[in-house]
Amino acid sequence: MSEIRLETRALARQFGALVAVQAIDFKLAAGARHAVIGPNGAGKTTFINLLTGALPPSLGCVFLNGKDITHKSQAERVKLGVARTFQINRLFRGLSVLENVCISIAERVGVAPAMFYPIGRRTDVIDEAMDLLQVLKLAGDAANRVSELPYGRQRLVELAIAIGLKPQVLLLDEPAAGVASAESHIILGAIERLPQDMAVLIIEHDMDVVFRFAKRVTVMVGGALFAEGSPREIEANPQVRAVYLGQTGHG
């Protein structure tokens, strides 16, 4: 097995009396394509928030490349190589697609604090942004304001901002949520073209997406890990079918 990028040990988070995530031991290797599924309220998004540092855990630890990052802030974790996308778009809506990606790249390469030369001088940043948009087939929309794009393309921008950070670990929170199934193949295609050695964790409801994308699947129920295995094993697991697959009608 290739080297472990992200690891959690006994990770837990409580909100008052509600245990949203409990005692999760989880490993994500380099190059992983790992899906986390589970019914609504299973704690999937909370789990991602714990991984990115948006929420502090109540208990347990998070490791990146073997180093304890439990007490690192969200910004520090991004610098170390953990990036995410959001279930509901969080974009710079009033800016152009190109600027959206430039902001992210400028942040990664450390240009962003510079005050005394125009961004237009950093053609390296703009070049890289254009390259990325090309790969995601967004180059035609580069000049358009994000708020004017159809939702499916906005989801691509959501992805582009995260990829611009060149993360080692990419956490995708329902990347195809809200996108008509006729369009979701664009997003899936983009995810499939991600760099091979990037460790990718995807939270998804759409089973077609999960089975197409994932090599491993973890099922979360009630804030805990319920089952883990290859997509086939998970699909065949009668308990999983009972708690999850059967209910959603995707099967």
Binding site: F116, P118, T123
Partner: protein, 344 residues
């Protein structure tokens, strides 16, 4: 912070920059011909209306104050109703130094005004900018009220309610007197300072730092998620904005030769906000257009209808708020785009 950017000549653009959007971004900071218009107008005003230079000076100071607010509100999205705190801090710095005979040289006084205002901006920003929205709005208001009350209570130094009258400002460069009857020195001096500050602000908003401020304005949470030190950026922006507001306040004190509590008033903070909304925020020239529109309106409406001139202003604001998202300048941009589309 790496500053070794390679300068790019307009002709030497590389292949991927063929894209129209990339080209637009590369050229965004280029000076446009129409950007000289405000300055030509200001110069023309000097020759055309020698009797109105006092009004002109007040206008230029208002523009500078509105620009400082634009940086915080329009670019970084810091919602504030207390920007007069910094205007007042600058004004009182100049006023106290001059009134007590400590320091009267105008340019260095302005520098001190900027430093004093920046210090207050930094100290309050470190606390305030942990909050957002209404909480932030109220706290900025409170900061200003506290400063005003402090200036009121320290009347042994500040003159309290009466303020500091007849300030003795040293001649500019030891040569040019600030004559209250013929304020041409004041006008040109203010214009020069405005041009200087504007050049700085313009460079700032087109810099990567400025771009990250617009990112914070557009989506604070996403900026956190891409690893930006959001609060540090906001505090830096707020401090710079405060310093410029302080310069505007200092100019106000110098050119009027007095300071009073109105420098720290809610009325002043609200007016500059109205000016920016009227003109269009987050676009530099909104401050110019808003200030001209507001002061011209005030001037003419007050003549026609002295008791209720604000009614006309109110109506205009309602129209701007209802029908244009970004003030007069925003309306102009929409019309221009339609015209371009129709012309195609």
């Amino acid at each position: 912070m790496s500053v070794e950017a390679t300068p790019v000549q307009p002709g030497s653009v590389v292949l991927r920059l063929d894209n129209q959007a990339a080209r637009a971004l590369v050229r965004r900071h280029y000076l446009r011909w129409w950007e000289t218009l405000p300055w030509l107008a200001a110069a023309a005003f000097y020759f055309a209306f020698p009797a109105y230079l006092g009004f002109g000076t007040a206008l230029l100071i208002t523009i500078l104050f509105a620009l400082s607010l634009d940086l915080a509100l329009g670019y970084a999205g810091i919602v504030t109703l207390g920007h007069a705190a910094f205007f007042g801090a600058g004004a009182y710095t100049v006023g106290l130094l001059a009134f007590h005979g400590i320091w009267t040289e105008p340019i260095t006084s302005l520098l001190l005004a900027a430093i004093a205002a920046a210090a207050i901006g930094l100290a309050s920003g470190l606390v305030l900018l942990r909050t957002q929205g209404l909480t932030l709005l109220m706290l900025t208001l409170c900061t200003m009220a506290l400063l005003q009350e402090a200036a009121n209570m320290a009347h042994n130094y500040t003159g309290g309610f009466d303020g500091l009258p007849s300030l003795d400002i040293a001649p500019l460069f030891g040569k040019f007197e600030f004559n209250p009857l013929y304020p041409d020195t004041q006008y040109l001096y203010t214009l020069a300072i405005l041009l200087l500050c504007f050049t700085f602000i313009r460079a700032l908003v087109y810099s990567p730092f400025g771009q990250s401020l617009t990112g914070i304005r557009e989506n604070l949470l996403r900026m956190h998620a891409i690893g930006a030190p959001v609060r540090r950026r906001l505090v830096v922006c707020y401090t710079i904005s405060a310093a410029i507001a302080g310069i505007a306040g200092g100019l106000w004190a110098q050119t009027n030769a007095y300071v009073n509590l109105s420098a720290l008033d809610l009325d002043r903070a609200a007016t500059v906000l109205i000016i920016l909304i009227l003109g269009g925020y987050g676009r530099l020239y909104g401050a110019f257009i808003g200030a001209v529109a507001y002061l011209a309106l005030e001037h003419f409406l007050a003549r026609v209808y002295p008791t209720a001139w604000q009614l006309g202003l109110g109506l205009l604001l309602v129209i701007v708020a209802l029908y244009t998202r970004n003030g007069i300048l925003g309306l102009g941009e929409v019309l221009w785009r339609r015209y371009r589309r129709a012309a195609k």
